[in-house]
């Protein structure tokens, strides 16, 4: 078992942080990589990015939004309990180098994925402009951590309850129009990444996005995670999960994420009824 040593609830309990004992993975993990976790014997294999690692303690941190059956089940795990299986580190690490000035733009739990990359870019000597967003103030995560690794920091909320009212893309557009930017890293819900990429394309700024298709093995053996990038089929788990945002077919990804929507719904409803019975 991979034991949970620390647990936090964020964004009003809709987002959960677990710090898990996994020394072999902690030793090897780099920003941008993910793990696959499975809670118990009957569980599904779920990919989650490592938001942090601690080599001394031999732990990794995952931060996930509760959206369905598996993540609801994970939410019930307490400190001292744990996951039956944790596999990783998977995927390619972010290629981090000193480029000059970069924008890191994140939405929702995408900020958890964005944080280690932002920190890496900052440590590599880049000037970092961060733009993070959420639907409202109480749903915003990792604000302090992101602020600490940024030179310039912007917050947006859809309802205006905190920071700029509106989308992260509005602020990003302003920054792009006034400053010379060498790279944009955009991570969040698929529609957000799609619009980030559309805008940066107009400004002709290289853009990295992190894709989250449905996965099984995470080692390139099933092809379930295939995405179209630059008219070629790629396996996100081994060729990605980061890709050039200007080349990604986001519409296909959006559709493919719905592949099991019926089954997911029934599975989740079943589960919620079960736990309410107890």
């Amino acid at each position: 078992m991979f034991k949970i040593v620390h647990r936090e609830e964020m964004a009003g309990g809709t987002v959960i942080l677990n710090e898990i004992e996994a020394p072999a993975i902690a030793r090897k993990a780099k920003p941008g990589q993910f793990v696959i976790v499975k809670a118990n014997e009957t569980g599904e294999r779920i990919p989650l990015t490592m938001a942090d690692t601690n080599t001394e303690k031999g732990t990794i941190t995952i931060i996930y939004m509760v959206v369905g059956k598996s993540t609801s089940l994970f939410k019930t795990l307490k400190v001292g309990e744990g996951y039956l299986d944790v596999i990783g580190p998977l995927g390619c690490a972010t290629h981090i180098e000193k480029l000059g000035k970069v924008i890191c733009v994140g939405g929702g739990t995408g900020i958890a994925v964005l944080y280690p990359i932002t920190r890496g870019l900052k440590q590599a000597g880049n000037e970092v402009v961060s733009i993070v967003g959420a639907r409202s103030k109480d749903l915003l995560i990792l604000e302090e951590k992101m602020r600490n690794v940024s030179d310039e920091f912007h917050v947006c909320t859809d309802d205006g309850s905190y920071g700029h009212k509106g989308f992260v893309t509005d602020v990003m557009k302003q920054v792009l129009s006034t400053q010379k930017i060498d790279l944009v890293v955009g991570i969040g819900p698929v529609p957000m990444m799609k619009f980030v990429s559309k805008i940066t394309k107009e400004f002709n700024v290289k853009t990295l996005v992190s894709l989250n298709p449905i996965m099984i093995d995470g080692t390139g053996m099933c092809g379930g995670c295939r995405v179209t990038v630059g008219n070629e089929t790629k396996f996100a788990c081994v060729d990605g999960p980061e890709f050039d945002g200007h080349q990604v077919d986001f519409d296909e990804l959006t559709k493919r994420l719905q592949a099991y929507s019926e089954e997911e719904k029934s599975c989740w409803q079943n589960y919620m009824c079960q736990i309410q019975d107890v």
Binding site: L90, I216, T219, G223, V238, E264
Partner: protein, 469 residues
């Protein structure tokens, strides 16, 4: 059940099976196994040849007449020990070897009638031992205090581990998945090879002292170099041919088009056929097409039928003679109502507005001159396009070499398709201290060939650790 005791001594004992109508909707094993009486009767058909063709047909040279004689004498426990001398997974091989091409294909009795049912007999004694045996662990040589790493827990890796444990080495298996067994567990379905059999084989290895590290993706969690640094003196790579091939036709990324690897992994490893008891979903098609005609295709088609499909079609671009699946699987698939569309080649998939597949366009083919594989090359018939309705398509047209491990390892020579180059006699690779065998060397082959490669590698590793490279 349609078991009938054979009247004539010379008739092959039929294998009792679940009837097609019943089994096509359940995941229980299809053949039910011989009774001790049937096994003895079948064993008595063997002529105990002086120059047995059967042994030559078996890639690992099981002493077939000897183990069959022991069955005829009712010495089941001795019989299984005879098989173990050459084959450590007889319960598996008895079920999945293409016997008609191997042992049984060379049996002299088969020249005039049906050959001795060697596979069924092998399966019988292995099952008998599992159910009634003592579970006694074979004697192990004195510990040599040397560590060997085995990467991958398919048949090749399990064989290497089993052999080296007995020779006194400290063996650790590293497996990427959360469960051991390789294709035996994630690929071959429950109705053909119950998973309990594979897990009991692995448990037996652990009982003998073998360490099993699941969730270890070599190349990611740990590299080959790091394994050497951790004190492993020899490393065997048996990672299989885990890269799905697609058709590369338009529309292939529509929802409802899966590689056989994905479809079967969902069904078998993740037990999606028991959804929602198990959390992993699997698409349940009404009109299913399966592209390809090997064992993988038959397994996919029969799985789809068991998941409740109205119609399941095997679509294959060559003709019946070229179908690579085991004869028994093709026969079982036909009995279960799978339709065969031969000399038919898909050219594109058709989707709806939600991005789900609704149909497939195909061309009719005819056979031309033989190609490099010696099989007659299929050629498209002009103007023969037609459409086929489908809401699930499973692509089972072969597998390639997964580059994840090989790319992360320096000094490992690969051939032009990305498979590891290894000496066929010893399994030695171009990298000192590293052996390879099974599908990652030969490309997709068979369980018994992977095991044979494992045995040779184990012998060579033993020599190396005793005498040097």
């Amino acid at each position: 059940m349609k078991e009938q005791a054979s009247s004539k001594k010379s008739d092959r004992q039929p294998m009792p099976e679940q009837s097609a109508e019943v089994r096509k909707r359940n995941f229980d094993e299809v053949p039910l196994g011989y009774s001790p009486e049937a096994a003895k009767a079948e064993a008595s058909r063997c002529l105990q040849c002086k120059k047995p063709g059967c042994i030559e047909g078996c890639p690992v040279s099981v002493d077939i007449p000897a183990f069959i004689k022991l069955i005829a004498e009712g010495e089941f426990t001795k019989s299984i020990r005879k098989i173990w001398e050459k084959n450590s997974l007889p319960a598996v091989c008895g079920r999945v070897c293409p016997q008609e091409l191997q042992c049984e294909g060379q049996c002299v009795v088969g020249k005039k009638g049906a050959p001795v049912a060697i596979g069924n007999l092998e399966r019988f004694v292995a099952d008998y031992e599992r159910m009634n045996g003592t579970g006694e662990v074979p004697p192990r040589q004195k510990s040599k205090g040397k560590k060997v790493a085995v990467v991958g827990s398919g048949p090749s890796g399990l064989t290497v581990a089993g052999d080296l444990i007995l020779k006194g080495y400290e063996v650790t298996i590293f497996e990427a998945f959360h469960r051991p067994g390789g294709v035996l567990v994630y690929g071959i379905p429950q109705f053909r090879l119950p998973k309990e059999i594979v897990f009991s084989e692995v448990a037996f290895l652990e009982k003998q002292g073998c360490t099993l590290n699941c969730n270890s993706v070599v190349g990611r969690t740990v590299t080959i170099e790091e394994l050497f640094e951790e004190g492993y003196q020899a490393i065997f790579i048996g990672v299989g041919a885990g890269l799905p091939k697609f058709l590369n036709v338009p529309g292939e990324n529509l929802i409802g088009i899966l590689s056989a690897n994905e479809y079967l992994t969902r069904a078998n490893l993740m037990k999606a056929y028991r959804f929602p008891e198990y959390d992993t979903p699997i698409p349940k098609g009404k009109n299913v097409v399966v592209l390809g005609a090997g064992n993988v295709a038959m397994d996919s088609a029969r799985t789809a039928m068991r998941l409740g499909a109205d119609s399941v079609k095997i679509v294959y671009r060559r003709s019946r003679d070229e179908m690579p699946a085991r004869a028994a699987e093709i026969h079982h698939a036909e009995e279960e109502g799978i339709e065969f569309f031969l000399l038919t080649n898909p050219t594109r998939f058709i989707g709806n507005e939600k991005g789900r597949v609704v149909g497939m366009e195909c061309l009719k083919m005819e056979l031309g001159e033989p190609d490099s594989s010696g099989r007659r090359r299929p050629i498209a018939v002009k103007g023969s396009e037609f459409q086929m309705e489908c809401d699930l398509a499973v692509v089972a047209v072969g597998a390639g070499a997964n580059p994840l491990l090989t790319k992360s390892t320096d000094g490992l020579a690969l051939n032009k398709w990305g498979y590891i180059v290894a000496d066929p006699e010893t399994g030695k690779t171009s990298k000192k201290g590293v052996w390879a065998g099974g599908d990652i060397v030969t490309g997709s082959a068979t369980v018994i060939l992977a095991m044979g490669a494992g045995r040779k590698a184990a012998d060579s590793i033993d020599k190396y650790l005793t005498w040097g490279w």
